[in-house]
């Protein structure tokens, strides 16, 4: 029995399962008010998914507005927030689009498919802008590295990202891998994609032109992922919760690859008026958003949708989140050519409706009208909440518990300092990530200039000119826990620094804001603080937020994850040949630390290793970050620099270790005057970088730093011949004058053994 609009009118009092679908009483009442009758079951399904937290941003909207309100004026932004992904001008007629999204809850339920379809979804966001995807990155966070559930989730997530991304032919150029108990039961699986296009190829999601046809193409619609959005993304995992496995979507990367090629071909052939990917909320989302952005009306014949399972009800078809589907608006004159190109790529396509000027989204099922709604009310005018928030009761006590020498004993002897360095570089958060990244293809497409473990991922966009882009994502969530306003700024600062250190000029920002329940006023305070901090810092650094994603309800019971505002920064480099890698090259090159080092350990890796979290995070210094960025970009452009590395997790000691491992060449270091060796080696003060300068460029480089007011301290020199004198003939050696000596092989062993030992060979 189909619940049609007619039936809703004649039987207005029928009981409806709005609560089970995640709607609140007042939300259900406002749907009735919008429609002036009870919704049909299909309409109820549509509103419930589109008004879910995941699709409607109902709790975050009031705070996210700041990204637009405080946006710095820039000519780089071609398409701003609100579209599938923002578009940035990188010069020479080229534009890039990039975005990061969460797939946290599905990846906890079913790690392989959850992570795989996370990649698929973000890639479709990028192609629906008209861009060819260039690369992906994955910021990942798990519970404690040795926790049994981490062993369940992590290998599946890594295999899922690899299994999908590798088959899609997109290089995976980096990301993050962080372990913290706060993510036990709530792993964070974020996925980023970047794509490029010529300015003329930018496409938007709108259904324009009355009489134009609406085409659904790609995979057939099946029963997977039904209710995935509202059920999975909006509820927390309680121990006695219902089984949710069937809600996770199943991915087919081969179909996605064909979909990419077919989509780019129809776009470039000029056959498409508007285009939208099908992600969360499937056909409900695509039809209502296209209609809402366009002429305002659409008529859909839902029974034309090609199905994998003929028994699906219309409500299920509307809610299905089957992967690898797209929706395009095509003029009647071009439909044959469109269908022909789909056929070339063996992609099924069917016209499911047409654009109208009625101002209504009308959906028919075998002749009966089952949906008749104003599309804007579904897609854009959902509920908006001003959730209450307040500073957590425990915040002051947390900030007061600083890791002073009295509170947390510090290593002092040379032997203890040496052991501290080994402990840090072998800790799960700082250990080599190659167990993970070697399962991803970083070479495909042949344009990867830098990839993990480098400072940033870098991709060549134009083979002729060498124009390229760099991307980094970062977040130290412990900093955000100590101070969410500063923590979000520190995440931005680190990402911005990573881009600059690689030689690219930072241009735009995306974010993936992972938080606990917005219904908890203390979590909401963290969210409000973090978004304000991020918006303020973007304004000060002059780079706009182009889009992003919010993931709430990352909590188990009353315990929320650390607030985790993952920030991605995109930069541009005129000629990738000028990029700055991490590895020093030749004997005699001079090693400088730029910036000032203070006693700042709160929230850092050393304190984390001691099981301590308290105090105030390192001081944010955005003017100094900006200056550091300008200096690093100038040094790269003018050929003054061989190698560079940002100083962040684990401080200078870890930074130079990573550089030595990358180079496989030794170096001699000394501790600068007037600073405690432990503080110099392991503090996580911001706005700092290691710069490796050829002797011939030293004067030019130091004069530039002096003229700009950037502190530059020489504290090392590259030397491949230190082995003999230090009792390690024929080995590459790192010597710290008067402190300790370690061979590069010893460092490598400590750094590389950890993840294989935890997760298998």
């Amino acid at each position: 029995m189909i619940d049609s609009v007619e039936a809703a009118k004649t039987n207005p009092l029928s009981e409806q399962p709005w609560a089970e679908l995640g709607l609140k009483q007042d939300e259900y009442e406002s749907i009735k008010k919008i429609l002036d009758r009870r919704p049909t079951s299909s309409e109820l399904a549509m509103y419930s998914v589109m008004w879910s937290e995941h699709c409607s941003y109902k709790s975050s909207k009031v705070h996210l507005r700041q990204f637009g309100d405080k946006a710095p004026s820039t000519e780089a932004l071609l398409v701003g927030i609100g579209e599938n992904a923002g578009v940035v001008d990188i010069g020479d007629g080229w534009a890039v689009t990039f975005k990061v999204e969460s797939h946290n809850h599905p990846s906890y339920v079913e790690p392989y498919q959850g992570a795989a379809t996370g990649v698929g979804g973000i890639v479709r966001d990028i192609i629906s802008m008209g861009a060819r995807p260039l690369a992906v990155m994955d910021p990942l966070r798990f519970g404690a590295a040795d926790a049994p559930d981490t062993r369940r989730v992590l290998p599946g997530v890594v295999a899922g990202i690899g299994g999908y991304g590798n088959c899609l032919g997109l290089p995976n150029i980096g990301g993050e891998l962080v372990f913290d108990e706060s993510y036990a039961g709530n792993p964070l699986v974020n996925a980023l994609c970047v794509g490029s296009m010529k300015h003329a190829d930018i496409h938007l999601a709108s259904a324009k032109g009355v009489g134009n046809l609406v085409v659904l193409y790609g995979a057939r619609t099946g029963g997977d992922g039904i209710g995935g959005v509202s059920v999975l993304a909006s509820e927390t995992f309680d121990a006695d919760g219902p089984a949710k496995r069937p809600s996770v979507q199943v991915g087919d990367p081969f179909m996605e690859k064909l979909l990419i090629e077919a989509t780019l071909e129809v776009l470039h052939a000029g056959l498409v008026e508007g285009i939208q990917d099908l992600g969360g909320a499937g056909i409900s989302c695509a039809t209502s958003e296209l209609a809402s952005n366009g002429e305002g009306g659409m008529h859909v014949y839902l029974d034309r949708v090609l199905l994998r399972d003929a028994s699906l009800s219309p409500e299920e078809i509307l809610m299905s989140e089957s992967q690898e589907r797209m929706c395009a608006v095509v003029t009647p004159e071009k439909i044959d050519a469109f269908m022909q190109l789909c056929k070339k790529w063996d992609v099924e396509a069917v016209v499911i409706g047409e654009v109208t000027d009625t101002g209504r989204l009308v959906i028919e099922w075998h002749g009966e009208t089952i949906v008749d709604v104003p599309p804007r009310s579904v897609a854009h005018d959902g509920p908006v909440y001003e959730r209450p928030f307040h500073r957590p009761s425990w915040q002051d006590a947390l900030q007061a518990d600083a890791p002073t020498p009295e509170r947390l004993a510090r290593p002092e002897s040379p032997e203890a300092l040496k052991q501290t360095l080994l402990d840090l570089i072998s800790s799960p958060n700082l250990a080599s990530k190659s167990w993970v990244t070697s399962q991803f293809d970083r070479y495909v497409l042949g344009n990867t200039i830098l990839s993990q473990p480098e400072n940033a991922g870098m991709i060549r966009v134009d083979e002729e000119s060498g124009l390229g882009v760099a991307i980094s994502t970062d977040c130290n969530a412990r900093f955000a826990k100590l101070d969410p306003y500063a923590g979000a700024q520190l995440a931005l600062a680190e990402s911005y620094r990573n881009i600059s250190v690689a030689g690219a000029k930072p241009l735009a920002v995306t974010n993936c804001l992972n938080f606990g329940s917005p219904e908890d006023p203390e979590v909401m305070w963290q969210f409000a603080q973090a978004t304000t901090g991020l918006a303020d810092a973007c304004l000060e650094l002059g780079i706009p937020v182009t889009g992003g994603n919010v993931s709430f309800y990352n909590q188990t019971g009353d315990t929320a994850i650390h607030p985790t505002p993952v920030v991605g920064v995109l930069g541009v480099i005129d000629d990738v040949d000028r990029r700055t890698p991490m590895a020093w090259e030749d004997d005699g090159e001079l090693i400088y630390v730029l910036g000032n080092t203070a006693d700042e350990f709160a929230g850092g890796e050393w304190a984390h290793l001691q099981g301590h979290l308290g105090g105030l995070p390192p001081k944010v210094d955005l003017p100094m970050e900006r200056l550091l960025s300008e200096i690093m970009v100038a040094a790269s452009r003018d050929g003054m620099i061989t190698a560079a590395h940002d100083v962040s997790d684990g401080g200078v000691g870890v930074a130079i270790t990573e550089m030595a491992l990358r180079a496989n060449i030794g170096a001699r270091f000394w501790i600068p005057d007037n600073i405690d060796p432990f503080v110099f080696l392991f503090s996580e003060s911001t706005a700092r970088a290691i710069a490796v300068i050829p002797r011939t460029e030293e004067l030019r480089f130091t004069e530039m730093c002096a003229a700009r007011g950037m502190s530059a301290t020489r504290f090392g020199v590259v030397d491949s011949g230190l082995g003999a004198d230090s009792g390690h003939p024929d080995e590459q050696v790192i010597v710290f004058d008067s402190l300790f000596t370690l061979t590069v092989d010893q460092l490598r062993e400590a750094n590389e053994a950890t993840l294989p030992a935890l997760f298998g060979g």
Partner: protein, 226 residues
């Protein structure tokens, strides 16, 4: 006129653009060949690139061998057309019986992407003549099913006939029998290679430029023959 080398695009081919770039860098003209096209457009040689042709459904390379373009390639390869199959292309050549043996799931069960050291074991093929015998090179390896297997008799025969063209050095990355990374047919015109020379043709993007001689070898032989 420079040599024209075809690169086949199957649905799911991924490294076709990379192969075309490598052909250009080696001084030849890449020609795009479509899987459904029963026409080789007069090319002088063919590269079957890496990827997941037809989604690797059923078995890697098993469906690709039935593609219209493949029946022509199989026929011409038997009469001397130079053909290089890289990764998925190697799998297709084995499935097509242009080369013996098969590629199986890596012994450690994971996809692996790493810079791989190889030793060139034969320079008597059309695709390896530009190397020095015994030369050690480093090019990317990236596969989930790269373990080369064949019967003991076949393996003995491959070595006896000098048809093992490259072996893995510094550890076997995928469980390939006798460390085999690539082989050729008896005539030396058909070569299958699991690692990816097309990803090692530019210093900026590859670990080395050690991949170029594979393409330069065939270009030289084609120019010499014309």
């Amino acid at each position: 006129m420079s040599a024209r080398i075809g690169v086949v695009t199957f649905p799911g081919s991924l490294d076709d653009a990379d192969a075309a770039r490598a052909i250009r860098i080696a001084g030849a003209t890449p020609v795009a060949l479509w899987h459904g096209d029963a026409d080789l457009h007069g090319v002088d040689a063919v590269v079957l690139p890496g990827g997941f042709s037809y989604g690797d459904y059923l078995r890697c390379g098993a469906i690709a061998k039935f593609a219209p373009v493949m029946s022509l390639i199989i026929e011409k390869a038997q009469s001397g057309l130079p053909v290089l199959g890289i990764c998925n292309g190697f799998q297709i050549l084995c499935e097509s019986h242009l080369l013996p043996g098969a590629l199986t799931r890596n012994d450690h069960q994971h996809f692996i992407c790493q810079d791989q050291k190889l030793r060139i074991e034969s320079t008597e093929t059309l695709w390896t003549s530009d190397f020095a015998l015994g030369q050690e090179i480093v090019i990317p390896l990236k596969n989930g099913e790269g373990g080369y297997v064949a019967s003991e008799a076949t393996l003995d025969e491959l070595f006896a006939e000098n048809r093992v063209i490259a072996t893995y050095q510094g550890g076997n990355p995928n469980g390939s029998y006798r460390d085999i990374a690539g082989i050729s047919n008896k005539a030396g015109n058909v070569v299958g290679l699991m690692p990816h020379p097309e990803h090692a043709v530019e210093a900026l993007t590859g670990p080395t430029t050690d991949g170029i001689p594979f393409f330069a070898s065939v270009v030289k032989s084609l120019v010499g023959a014309s």
